[in-house]
């Protein structure tokens, strides 16, 4: 038991940034619920979870190229493209709906795969290659949805944006009032989606050779190559997985809003916020340190901060200013390292 505690303690010490982010999120979220007139209720949790899914997925998507030491400026655009595809395909019979969702996810994944090919075989810097492919994704999204709108299955919209009780009730799998079901009936479906798709894909992936290679490339690409790791495959996989996560975000956004909207400004905002979330979650922009779960937490922190404006009577005009200051203050915490460094040459890594 004590060795387990010691393990936990050392793992926290090794992931100080991640632990800090989790603590910050918990503190912010508990305080939010205390201040909220209907705090600690399932309804508030459902609403919050719904509004967080898209940015959480986009932030997780951004993490993987960042771990390589690169950056993917197309995640917001790929999310928008997927949302537009979903707004056309996800309706009709149950089989059509499922095929539509699969097609949406495949499209985003394929786009990420192309990003990977361009970066690896075109040998372009990720940041600039994805800046260009992001424009292409926005163009394709505009082809599909020149005007906002869409036709997404209403039952699906209701089922995945509410609690598990509503999910079971909508599709009539079994009696939602069954006694054994009661303890979990309040859990919001969006929260489960994040956990199943996010953690369920990321945690196993991180343990594969490809996953470890991504970390190795971010730390020292030359050393990773000399160790015989599959550099090219890992880079392609990283961008492909980023495309997949972005597509998950887009699919959910389309189902949640029952429409697709090829909005260039919105796509750009998602991309920039994803970078902020990645940094808040403790992933280094230099690569090699961090993880997608941290970005999940980072994205939730960003969202919770914006929830505060609803319950505190802050002038809405001040909202962008406060958000910006919080972001700046949060990233400035990372500067503590600078004042501990004794040899100034260590600064220039």
């Amino acid at each position: 038991m004590s060795s387990k505690l010691a393990n936990l303690a050392s793992s926290i010490r090794q992931n100080r940034a991640f632990a800090g982010a989790v603590l910050m999120l918990l503190a912010l979220f508990v305080l939010y619920n205390i201040l909220h007139p209907r705090g600690f209720s399932s309804a508030v949790l459902i609403q919050n979870a719904n509004e967080s899914v898209a940015i959480v997925f986009v932030a997780m998507a951004q993490t993987i190229p960042v771990l390589l030491g690169g950056l993917d400026l197309s995640v917001g655009a790929v999310m928008t493209l997927s949302a537009c595809i979903a707004s056309v395909l996800v309706n009709g019979s149950p089989l059509q709906i499922i095929m539509g969702m699969v097609a949406t996810l495949l499209a985003g994944t394929a786009f990420g795969f192309c990003n990977g090919l361009i970066v690896v075989y075109g040998r372009l810097q990720p940041i600039i290659a994805t800046l260009a492919t992001g424009a292409i994704a926005m163009g394709l999204a505009l082809f599909i949805r020149p005007k906002p709108g869409g036709d997404v299955d209403g039952d699906l919209n209701w089922a995945v944006t509410n609690s598990l009780w509503d999910f079971v009730d909508t599709y009539g799998f079994f009696d939602p009032d069954a006694a054994w079901f009661a303890p979990v009936a309040w859990i919001p479906v969006p929260l489960l989606i994040i956990l199943v798709f996010g953690a369920g894909v990321w945690l196993p992936f991180r343990r594969t050779v490809i996953g470890r290679t991504i970390y190795a490339i971010g730390s020292a690409e030359g050393a990773a190559y000399m160790s015989g790791l599959p550099i090219n495959r890992a880079k392609i996989a990283a961008f492909t997985l980023a495309g997949f996560f972005a597509a998950c975000g887009g699919l959910y956004l389309a189902i949640q809003t029952a429409s697709g909207n090829a909005d260039i400004t919105q796509a750009g905002a998602y991309t920039l916020n994803s970078i902020a979330a990645v940094v808040l979650g403790g992933t280094s922009l230099l690569g090699g340190v961090g993880g997608a779960l941290g970005s999940l937490i980072g994205a939730l922190i960003l969202r919770v901060i914006s929830f505060y404006f609803r319950i505190l009577s802050i002038d809405p005009l001040l909202q962008p200013l406060v958000e910006g200051l919080v972001l700046l203050a949060a990233v400035s915490l990372g500067a503590v390292r600078v004042f501990r460094i004794k040899n100034r040459l260590d600064l220039f890594r």
Binding site: L124, I136, G222, T265, L321
Partner: protein, 319 residues
């Protein structure tokens, strides 16, 4: 042909190829207009000057952006620095309009530079934070509406009038270009930018005050964004929300198309000018063709990737 191509110095390749591509764009556009309207407006001096006038705004932003990219950093605070400078300049008005706008640029550049150079926060995230703070300040200042203040006559003159038949904005761009070229080629500060961008530790060990070099480059970027903002406010007679949003990504694209390495340390200013011209002319030809926004975005992205695949590729990790 191939031998002439391979004899090009690597630094010249981007410039030559982009210039050739500009000619190609003009020829394709002219073929289109000849086929549909029977005229060739693309090669008329007036048309080209008008395009360069609108290109001047992007050109000035890109000039500042290039300083920062040469260091291996990036300045994402350009959109709202530009907007803030324009809004402050129109709000103050009178003789103090220009100094106020430029002071905004200097202030933002100093904050960016201090954060990146002294606190060692990655520029990607720090300038992003500064951008949202500036946006917040401007939303607070204007109440979220378009400000009613008018641009001063001097701002109107600099952006929209003509001198000797040439738009004054082009002279402003020319002036900024001369200053940047002089800084990069003729001053110790300019050489320090290249050295710091190549390897900061080595530059530091050879006695360059690399932190001040970084601060200086960010200040130049801020000032350039401010000048562009003042001009744009003069061109459209007032400042408005989000006026800088359309400049960030094209500016980065123009710098990179011009052959500047995104990781820093290499690049020539003439490349940036050619890159800006390419993007501006591509946009104008596409709008002559009445290309819908969707097609524009796809073509735009394809051109950037295509150009870079020709000359912007990294060395292979192993030979």
């Amino acid at each position: 042909m191939t031998s002439a191509f391979s004899r090009l110095r690597p630094d010249d390749k981007p410039v030559v190829i982009s210039a050739a591509f500009i000619v190609l764009i003009l020829i394709l556009g002219t073929v289109y207009t000849l086929a549909t309207q029977g005229t060739a407006p693309l090669f008329s001096p007036n048309y080209l000057l008008q395009q360069l006038q609108t290109g001047a705004f992007l050109g000035i932003v890109a000039a500042g952006m290039m300083m920062v990219i040469l260091l291996g950093h990036i300045d994402l605070s350009v959109p709202w620095t530009l907007t803030a400078a324009a809004m402050m300049a129109t709000a103050v008005g009178g003789d103090m309009a220009l100094p106020t706008g430029i002071a905004v640029g200097v202030a933002v550049g100093l904050i960016n530079g201090l954060g990146v150079a002294y606190l060692r926060i990655p520029s990607m995230i720090f300038t992003l934070g500064v951008d949202s703070v500036m946006r917040g300040l401007m939303v607070w200042h204007t109440g979220g509406f378009a400000p009613q203040d008018q641009a001063t006559p001097l701002m109107r003159f600099l952006a929209a009038e003509k001198l000797l038949g040439i738009p004054v904005a082009i002279f402003v761009w020319l002036f900024v270009s001369v200053v940047i070229v002089t800084i990069l080629g003729r001053t110790a500060f300019g050489r320090s930018i290249y050295a710091t961008g190549n390897r900061e530790a080595a530059a530091y060990l050879s006695g360059i005050r690399t932190r001040w070099v970084i601060v200086g480059a960010f200040v130049i970027s801020g000032v350039c964004a401010a000048i562009a903002g003042i001009l744009l406010a003069g061109y459209s007679t007032k400042a408005y929300q989000g006026m800088g949003n359309a400049f960030l990504l094209p500016a980065i694209a123009a710098v990179v198309i011009g052959g500047t390495r995104i990781l820093g340390g290499r690049g020539r200013y003439v490349g940036t000018v050619v890159g800006v011209t390419l993007i501006v002319l591509l946009n104008s030809v596409l709008s002559i063709m009445q290309m819908p926004e969707a097609g524009r975005q796809v073509i735009y992205g394809t051109v950037i990737v295509g150009m870079l695949l020709v000359y912007g590729r990294d060395k292979q990790l192993t030979a």
